[in-house]
Subunit: 442 residues, 2 copies
Amino acid sequence: MTSTSNFKIAILGAGTVGGGVARILLEQSEALGGRAARTLELAGIVDLFPAKCAASHGIDRSLFCGDGDELTPAQAKAETDRLLADPEIDLVVETIGGSGDFIVGLTRSVLESGKHLVTANKALLAKHGQGLFKAAAENRKSIGFEAAVCGAIPIIKGIHECFTGDEIISISGIFNGTSNYIMSKMEAEGQDFATALAAAQEKGYAEADPSLDINGGDAGHKLTILLRMVFGLDLAFDDLEVAGIEAIDSDDVGFADEMHGTVKLICYGERRGDDVFAAVGPAIVKRSNLLSKIDGATNAVRLQNRYSDENVLIGQGAGSLETGSAIVSDIVFIARYGDAALRPPHRSSCKLRPLRELELPCNIVFETADMPGITGIVCTALGRQNINIDTVSHNRHMRDNALFAIATMPCTMAQVQAAVRSIQGEHPNVLLSEPRVMPILV
Amino acid sequence: MTSTSNFKIAILGAGTVGGGVARILLEQSEALGGRAARTLELAGIVDLFPAKCAASHGIDRSLFCGDGDELTPAQAKAETDRLLADPEIDLVVETIGGSGDFIVGLTRSVLESGKHLVTANKALLAKHGQGLFKAAAENRKSIGFEAAVCGAIPIIKGIHECFTGDEIISISGIFNGTSNYIMSKMEAEGQDFATALAAAQEKGYAEADPSLDINGGDAGHKLTILLRMVFGLDLAFDDLEVAGIEAIDSDDVGFADEMHGTVKLICYGERRGDDVFAAVGPAIVKRSNLLSKIDGATNAVRLQNRYSDENVLIGQGAGSLETGSAIVSDIVFIARYGDAALRPPHRSSCKLRPLRELELPCNIVFETADMPGITGIVCTALGRQNINIDTVSHNRHMRDNALFAIATMPCTMAQVQAAVRSIQGEHPNVLLSEPRVMPILV
């Protein structure tokens, strides 16, 4: 197993994550060599701003390719081409980011040059993973992507190498730290959404443009990758139903609390026969479910398994060294196991279906006229759709209108919508707005 | 990587765990073959009671070696010898249990016969692991032991394969489900120890003789195994300081609750330079620490890492299919990776030191005479030993005596004991019993 030649690594892009990778490779050289059973050698780094990157990560400038403080795009391309043409380079780390033509072409070139690829790029894999994994298989090279899903949580190797004696029935979790930080603030401190978002931005969790974090897109990229791996779905990112937390308000948080739950942005996928029901969106998580206890910017993944019940993995989903450590673990794995680490994409006959078609308990918030008889009208309409009611919340009577929530036993969204339509048809003045529905996880 | 020959497995002992392994191998044959990249074949099972095992696990009797409903020990030995002599058998699962000469000799024979060994036997590995891992290295065979530490939680592969891009600074956790069930009952329902233990026995969590569960021995076996792996300690089980939960009472639980914590049986090991401070014993876990949120018979492992902060893995620590799934994951891994999965024992220059020598915040419960001036005497004595006081609890005045707790800032047990000795020396009538000390985990 032990090879006498060094395992040579190139890094493309030495920003937050790539710089962290370089630092760990340099600081932990001896320990990593022991784990990989061969010496890992950082052979070269390409970045447009080598001087700045070297300074900010404390890396020797000589490890960066090219001369001067900055490289032109043409110079960076020439240096990249030189590394890809170098037969001694075994593995390339892509930490540039983006999911456009440039990065698709570049990562494909890495594989076609006969080098393993390690990346933290969830958007790239969610949108173009099918083609990239095909290219990897054709070139008999590995793609390491532990860092692309929940950062330092080892869910990718968990699924590939650890939970292999079981059958995963469902996967759920908190895959976006920014939105979880916001929801935690709204719950613990009663902040409204805008205030909590501003706090997340001040803490550096949310980008200046936080839309992918709060609209569920970032979480959806990660769920797309896991649904392919776990259930063998031939899934494009756009196939997945994704909702964010922008519309969550303090009433939602309050109603969740009344039923011993908390609102979280949840990724969910569950297999029933050949159907996989999946979505990203806000859900009420009961306190009996460990995902309810994940606060702040932390991520968590919960597996419900056929034989071993539940497993929950918790850790940091972002950060320079956190994400860097996940990338380095991929490098160690590929260096150690070589061809044995190759995995053809997992394909099954399973079909994706939207989560709203799965029978789940749900919570429906009704804004109605505030007068006697309303609860009866609403509950009767639900009963006529065969929806069994669990609890009716404390009603917020507000003179002009009333706000209350009904938690149901498992039902589909179609049943709920039929009930709402019947109320709207038969009692046109009762519902003052479209009821809001969230699934409940127990 | 794909081999045309089947990977053949023998199981020695088809009780709770071995029967679960056989069932999963048979039920999941196709999926497991895909993951291992070769067909896994259950070639034979040896058990003294084949008819009973076959019936209770729903396994065909023909998979068991020998004839009749029961085998004599001599017959079982002959069947075992035959399997070990069979060059086609690749891997042997030991699910007999025990840690005496018989099982030490048998497992050594497995390795010396040129077969991989997979076992859930934590007592065997804690007491005789050093010799067994040496035998494995000499014979170039793997020992799979995922199931020996926290059942279905993939902490062994987690350390070997997943957290390899980081440096583990400390490992802590709840490694014994029975004792955690008891502590959860005492906390949530105010039960005393004896009542909670009886409830655990009724639920089937505790054995008729629960001593290894409640005295910390079972948890200590698991910590011994992890300390060797993570920190490279050349550690014998008897080297580790181990305490149980037998002496915990409702006052301890109450004082913990007052400081927003809960009492748990905690395994702990932390590296500082070349010292590894470790022990098993009751500790107060603050609610800010995720381990405080693990209720019932569930297990959890928390890693504090240099680069990726904390990782927590939660799952089921026991059970037929739960433990069985962990064993099967080892079989898949060894079948897939072959020689590349071989690992020489990790040895470092680190030395074991008892946890009480590490400066940790701690909680001290004092039973004293109930009269004015006591708190001053106690706090003065602590201050003279340079112990900084965090909080003094609400005092339970009970006429004849008083009970109160002092939570300290980080200090060693030697400092605490010096303070106690000075109180006993200078004020012989103040302390009515030896103060009880527990570390506090934040």
